[in-house]
Symmetry: C2
Subunit: 240 residues, 2 copies
């Protein structure tokens, strides 16, 4: 399945005891159609408030319903903030989680003098002017294979913090709207949001682009910038 | 004052007994700053769920606070879905309501095969393909001075339904996003939403463009199309 969702009202992708998750809604909806209890595996988790344009998820089912009927039936029952863009039958062995080879996220920043009243759940508003060329310079230090401990959420239980960032690109998509697109083979918890928080420090002039190297080398989360808010983050694509 | 607001969580511009209105929030916020009970007059009402990019509103106050302090103080206290874009002192006689000479609204339609999960509060989603040239043809019958009873909400207590539409323009602003912009010296209750509902009938092929003339001439609300949902409507500009 390819899933688009508005993360605003969810506790994130992953099932939680204290909130409604995208995963839970999908599992319950699929169960209504197939009459089977299924487990839905996503390509990875997204945090509470994070959006997805093309999250990929898979589940195993013995249903005899054709894919087209499943697709339309599930979409008919999903709430307005979750929609399937596609559903197709794949090899039984396929796992959206295990087989993911890369992911692309983008992050939206609204950079204007005055906070907008509209669309507030879809970007991070920053009123200080951001210097784009400096941010682009800083971003280039991230490309390649690095220990990204400095950008990993404290408390994450992942041991190996080495990840490969394939590309990072910052563009001004329209008047006052910046988009930071980052592709990697895999991401650590809060990695994109912590990178964005640090790039924004550079854009505001609080840090020099060359400090990015020191930050990465430090492997210390306390040296890097703040965690950018979830509402600006979008999972754009998963590669297999 | 020039006011931008996200109408999603409000019962509309006008104070109501059973819900929170933009007017009430502005009056209470201004009272906190000026210590005076004020009445805020808008250029006109907007319905529940309708947005504004540049609503104009005025109030009378004896405060000695300079406009710049009022502006920043009010903005600091307003909720995230309402923001002042400007505040300046004007002639005591000025009334945002009485002195308005014209208004521009636009209406956003998302016309794609599949409903989007994101930004749902900011457009009307229509999955049937819309024929833009036919809608444009139909729209031209609206321009000029007409009795617009057929597009006026039933139950409205306004007697004279004659209004002058200065221009109407339909454009495809990006892939799958249509914008219908309409300017008039004044509008009736639900007028833009009823016009949009009828133009969409034409776009879907349910009516011919030439039927617009018959609809207007009928002066009968039952002959025109449905009322388009509030969430796609934006007050763009008020002219003085």
């Amino acid at each position: 399945m390819v899933v688009e969702y508005d993360g605003t009202d969810y506790c994130g992708w992953q099932r939680q005891k204290n909130g409604l998750s995208i995963q839970q809604v999908l599992e319950e909806t699929i169960r209504l159609i197939t009459q089977e209890k299924v487990t839905v595996f996503g390509s990875g988790r997204t945090d509470a408030g994070v959006h997805a344009l093309n999250q990929v998820a898979s589940f195993r089912s013995n249903t005899r319903l054709p894919a087209e009927i499943l697709y339309r039936g599930i979409n008919g029952l999903l709430p307005p903030d979750i929609v399937l863009k596609a559903l197709e039958e794949v090899a039984w062995e396929f796992s959206a989680l295990r087989d993911a080879r890369g992911k692309v996220y983008f992050y939206r920043i609204c950079n204007k003098r005055l906070r907008p009243a509209l669309n507030r759940n879809y970007f991070w508003f920053i009123h200080q002017p951001l210097n784009l060329p400096l941010m682009e310079q800083a971003a280039q230090y991230l490309v390649g294979r690095h220990d990204f401990s400095c950008f990993c959420a404290t408390g994450s239980d992942v041991k190996d913090h080495t990840r490969t960032v394939t590309s990072i690109n910052i563009s001004s998509v329209e008047d006052g709207l910046l988009e930071i697109t980052i592709e990697a083979q895999g991401f650590l918890k809060y990695m994109v949001r912590n990178i964005v928080g640090t790039l924004v420090d550079v854009g505001r002039g609080k840090r020099k682009p060359s400090e990015m190297k020191e930050i990465i080398d430090s492997c210390d989360r306390n040296i890097a910038g703040i965690t950018a808010p979830a509402r600006g983050l979008y999972l754009k694509e998963v590669k297999y």
